[in-house]
């Protein structure tokens, strides 16, 4: 078996891991599994695509930065897209989730997220149709790096971007006051409130981080694979599995879980066939739930 699956797995794993950070944060701080998280991914990607389109309409065709397949418009558009996705999440929280949370039945919020997911996804299909699109149709030449492994410049850039983002979020949650407030909220919301933590701002930061990373993960899928309205929904099961495998609430766990699932998927594609890829996360999920439900880095709930 060729070792190429390691690169493929690391890339898929980065996308899953970035998404799983959002899932795990929403789960541990807002206390519900957000089925609309995948749709933040898709919406972020389409928002970025729309901004790229606007830029090229204003400035004409921009040459890509060699050796990459994309130019500065995509980088600018990604930043704008991240902002728009965060706005979408905050808006959805204001209109729907914050009100459902007041009913104090966690599962009602899950159901609301399920309805919101269906509506968001179908709205994308309505606006952009279900036909796949691409950021760039250029074909990149993969460079051999030894051991039979090949990698394109885009892939290297995106792996580095993932590493920087994960490190950044990790530092934010462990070294800053905001991060400590988030941890306090996830461990004991009532006590956190009494201790004077601004709950509303913690909730906002949680949504912004989750949505921003979802948008980046979506754009990664867009650059490396393709853009479809269903792209986020298809990532939902791997993201949940990664978050649970890593242990709910743990950011390094979510990323590691994502990488494990990505590598397992890539390995399964080589050994069994691409059509069974989606079953991998289910099998890992069931194994974790049966053997070690708190995950790799999880803490037992009190």
């Amino acid at each position: 078996m060729s070792l190429q699956f390691i690169i493929d797995g690391l890339l898929t794993g980065s996308m899953i891991g970035l998404g799983a950070i959002g899932v795990t944060l929403t789960y541990s701080i807002l206390r519900f599994s957000n089925f609309a998280h995948g749709d933040f991914m898709a919406w972020g990607t389409y928002a970025t695509l729309a901004v790229v389109g606007t830029i090229s309409a204003m400035f004409g065709k921009v040459a890509p930065i060699t050796p990459f397949s994309f130019g500065w418009p995509l980088i600018v558009a990604l930043v704008v897209g991240v902002g728009l996705t965060a706005l979408l999440a905050l808006l959805l929280d204001k209109v729907l989730f914050s009100r459902l949370r007041k009913q104090e039945q966690a599962i009602i919020v899950v159901m609301g997220s399920f309805g919101a997911s269906m509506a968001l996804r179908s709205l994308l299909e309505f606006i952009f149709t279900s036909r796949p699109t691409y950021f760039s149709r250029a074909i990149q030449i993969a460079m051999p790096v030894g051991f039979g492994i090949r990698i394109t410049p885009d892939q290297i850039a995106l792996l580095l971007l993932t590493a920087v983002l994960v490190l950044g979020v990790h530092l934010l949650t462990t070294r800053t006051q905001t991060g400590r407030s988030m941890q306090a909220m996830s461990q004991n919301p009532a006590l956190a409130r009494i201790a004077g933590i601004d709950v509303a701002s913690v909730v906002r930061v949680t949504w912004v981080i989750g949505a921003a990373l979802a948008c980046v993960a979506g754009v990664m899928i867009g650059v490396l694979v393709q853009i479809r309205p269903l792209m986020g929904f298809d990532m939902l099961l791997p993201m949940f599995a990664a978050a649970i495998l890593g242990g709910i609430g743990s950011i390094p766990g979510a990323v590691l879980g994502g990488l494990i699932i990505g590598l397992a998927e890539a390995g399964a594609v080589q050994l069994i066939g691409a059509e069974w890829r989606a079953a991998v996360s289910f099998i890992i999920l069931m194994a974790v739930l049966i053997v070690r439900p708190i995950g790799l880095f999880g803490v037992r709930e009190r």
Binding site: I107, I108, F114, M118, A119, F240, I244, E275, W276, E301
Partner: protein
């Protein structure tokens, strides 16, 4: 006029099959509080099991065992019940969200098997030639539709009466007690997990039966019938009808299916054929927004019971008597 009666019978048959799924979901969610977002998977398991058991022999895939339809339906209920029980055993000791995520995964895997295990499920082209209960009447559509309606009504009515009976039985009361106050019920010696697995399995069996009915009613099944949109429709039906009430589950199903079929007919009149796929997605957006609005504004639906208010009342009474003594 005859056409209208025929269409009415066809519409009601579909609506009642949906009611059956909703009744199963009501047992799981309404009565027991178990969140199933993969019910399309259980419906598919029932449809495929019954199709495999009853279709004539087909060299291209496993079986076609040519068994009687009734055996197919019983087999479907068994398969659906076992699948649901296994899901429940694996996850019901954990937080409720984990069950939701697992059922979601079940639906994904069932969809994958339906698409890829060609030897078992016929792959993307599905399974045809599923025997229909009144196949010989197909020459006269009206009679055919009416007899289908009669048999589906009979099954739905039987399921409804059985569930009403179960709800009032000691078994149903334990489920309600577990949903309302788990600790109190456990302290009375009831095993929460065991009862929940039972309820989840029975619910799964009912959903599978509905899938089997649908398969024998249309005579053809394919993986596309069991996408997440089905799960979503049934949830809206239950929430509109009001979770916890069997009558609400049936009424909600008929109402939502009427809205769905009506808006579908409207879009096919209003939009050109090229635009219809887009218009159909707008239909889903509308239903999704409707679900969220009902959850926000009227979470108990048309017929739903309100469990938490009663609990709150009891608690205040208890504190009042405490302070009195």
């Amino acid at each position: 006029m005859i056409d209208l009666v025929g269409y009415g019978a066809f519409f009601l048959t579909t609506a009642l099959i949906f009611s059956l799924v909703t009744l199963g979901l009501n047992l799981q969610w309404g009565l027991t509080g178990l969140f199933n977002v993969g019910l399309a998977g259980f419906v598919a398991i029932g449809a495929y099991t019954s199709a495999l058991l009853t279709t004539p022999d087909d060299p291209a895939r496993l079986g076609g065992f040519g068994l009687p339809i009734l055996i197919g339906w019983l087999g479907a209920m068994f398969a659906g019940g076992v699948a649901a029980a296994l899901t429940g055993i694996a996850t019901l000791r954990l937080r409720s969200d984990y069950l939701a995520i697992t059922t979601f995964g079940v639906a994904v895997v069932v969809q994958l098997v339906a698409l890829n295990a060609q030897k078992l499920t016929g792959g993307p082209f599905g399974i045809g030639f599923i025997p229909r209960p009144f196949g010989d009447l197909a020459e006269t559509p009206l009679l055919f539709n009416l007899s289908n309606l009669a048999i589906v009504s009979a099954v739905t009515l039987a399921a409804y009466l059985a569930l009403e009976h179960l709800t009032r039985s000691p078994w149903g009361r334990v489920l309600k007690a577990l949903r309302e106050d788990e600790r109190a019920a456990i302290s009375l010696g009831k095993s929460a997990r065991f009862y929940r697995v039972q309820a989840f399995a029975v619910g799964g069996a009912i959903m599978a039966l509905a899938g089997a009915l649908q398969a024998h009613f249309t005579g053809f099944i394919a993986p596309d019938n069991y996408l997440s949109i089905l799960t979503f429709q049934v949830w809206v039906m239950l929430i509109v009808g009001g979770s916890g009430s069997n009558a609400g589950a049936v009424a909600g199903s008929v109402l939502v299916w009427a809205i769905w079929a009506g808006s579908g007919a409207l879009t096919s009149v209003l939009f050109t054929p090229e635009q219809q796929a887009r218009a159909a997605s707008l239909q889903i957006v509308a239903i999704g927004v409707m679900l969220c609005v009902i959850l926000l504004v009227r979470p108990k639906g048309m017929f739903g019971e309100r469990p938490r208010r009663a609990r709150f009342g009891k608690r205040t009474k208890a504190t009042a008597s405490e302070s009195g003594s």
